[in-house]
Structures are given as C-alpha cells and as structure tokens.
C-alpha cells in the first residue's frame, strides 16, 4: 500500500505523482487522478447572476489537524474500496487563477475502485479537511462560504454501501 499525503505551499508535478503511483507494480490496473485548479471568477450558487473576477486565492489551514483529517479520509477510502495507492496533495498560501490547488491520485486493480475512491476523497476533503479559502475580488478580501452542493455531494456516500 502506497499512501502519500502532503499539505504544501509549493506546486506539484502531476506527471511525477502519476509515475510514482504507476511504479506500485503488483496487480496495478488503473490510476485515476483529479487535479483542482483555481478559477478566475467567484460565483455564488444562491445568486446565479453574481460573478466577480478573482485575482488571488489565499488558502489557510490548521497544521497537523489537516494532515490527520486527510489521513482519516484516506483510511475510510481504503475500507470501502480495494486500492493499491492513494496520493493527496493540497496547496496552501497565496494562489492565482489557473494554479493547481489540489491533487487526488488513486491506484487500484480495476477502474471502478479508483474512480469511486477518487471522488469520495475529494467530496470528503471539501467538507471535512480544515482548509479555508479567502478570495481577493475587486480589490477586496472575503472568506468564502461553504457550499450546500459540496455538503450534498459528501452526504450521498453515507447512504452508499460498498459492493
């Protein structure tokens, strides 16, 4: 089992992370990677017409607790699916539009486990890991609100029994 969790300011190399998962070898048949990027606008689901140009996104987190929560999430994924490797990288600090912000990579024998686990880890990361985003919009700073859609996305895993 290859598990790698990192909270870091520096950028990551998707190719290097993919190669590391690919080197797992025995039984490997699928790798799913998800990369999240910083959008160049800020929108609000409850105000469909609202859209503002975003210049900077600042990521705060709770050191040590974040890593432990991410580790818990990965452990839960391991109990639900048959996995060979999981990589989670989340960046902190000041980011610009189009910057990479998060990477989830999952390796497994069959694709179903990797697809499902990657989505599960992202859904739980968004609703449970101690990160907070501050957007710099129109020359002003504002802490972003949590989205109901993210809570709903995470909640659906509560009802799904792994087959």
């Amino acid at each position: 089992m290859s598990i790698s969790i990192s909270v870091q300011a520096k950028d990551f190399d998707l190719g290097a992370e993919y190669d590391r998962l690919r080197s797992i070898g025995d039984g490997l048949g699928a790798i799913v990677t998800f990369t999240g990027l910083v959008r160049d606008f800020e929108s609000r689901p409850e105000e469909p017409q609202y859209s503002r140009k975003l210049t900077t996104l600042t990521l705060q987190h709770y050191p040590e607790m974040t890593e432990r929560l991410l580790s818990d999430i990965v452990e839960q994924a391991l109990t639900r699916w048959s996995l060979l490797g999981v990589t989670v990288i989340h960046r902190i600090g000041s980011l610009s539009p189009n910057d990479q912000i998060v990477l989830v990579g999952v390796a497994s024998t069959h694709r179903h486990d990797a697809f499902q686990a990657a989505e599960f880890v992202m859904d739980y990361l968004k609703t449970r890991a101690t990160f907070w985003k501050k957007a710099h919009v129109d020359g002003q700073e504002q802490w972003l609100d949590a989205k109901h859609s993210d809570a709903n996305a995470a909640a659906r895993w509560d009802d799904i029994k792994h087959d």
Binding site: G36, Q60, M122, T130, W132, K134, W143, A146
Partner: protein, 83 residues
C-alpha cells in the same frame, strides 16, 4: 493557560482578543469560553454560535461541553472551504 485559535472569518473577528488565557475552572469548556467572549465581543460570539461552527480541543473535534484542562489548545472552526 489555554491556547485559543480562530480560523477563517473567525480569525478576522478575533484579531483583537487575547489568544492565551489563564486556565480557570469557570472557563473549563469551549461553551464557557464562548459565553465569556460574549461580554466584550458580541459579533464574534454570534458567529461562534452558528450551528455549523465546530470546536476542537488538541486537534480533535469535540462537543461544546467538552472538559478543558490546563494547557489545552482550543480551536474554533468555521465551515471548511478547501479543495
């Protein structure tokens, strides 16, 4: 002493308050600390009272009536927005 941490928007609202407070039996739960803050920081306390705000002690999520001990780190956590 108790070490208080405020994250996200709570950090802005708590910028002026003392984060290291003497341990006292009357301030031995996160709820008691929240109520104590209400005297001088009503805006912060209002935000802290939102049901989505979580509290952790020594980096474990706990209930608001969790007993505190000298040296504990108490963190107030607004809804997370990572990813």
């Amino acid at each position: 002493m108790l070490n208080l941490l405020f994250f996200g928007r709570l950090g802005d609202l708590a910028s002026g308050i003392d984060k290291a407070i003497p341990y006292h039996i009357d301030l031995a739960t996160p709820l008691a600390i929240r109520n104590k803050l209400a005297e001088q920081h009503p805006l912060l306390t209002k935000e802290l009272s939102e049901p989505q705000v979580l509290v952790s002690v020594n980096k474990m999520i706990v209930k608001w009536d969790h007993p505190l001990f000298d040296g504990d780190e108490v963190a107030f956590l607004p809804p997370v927005t990572g990813g």
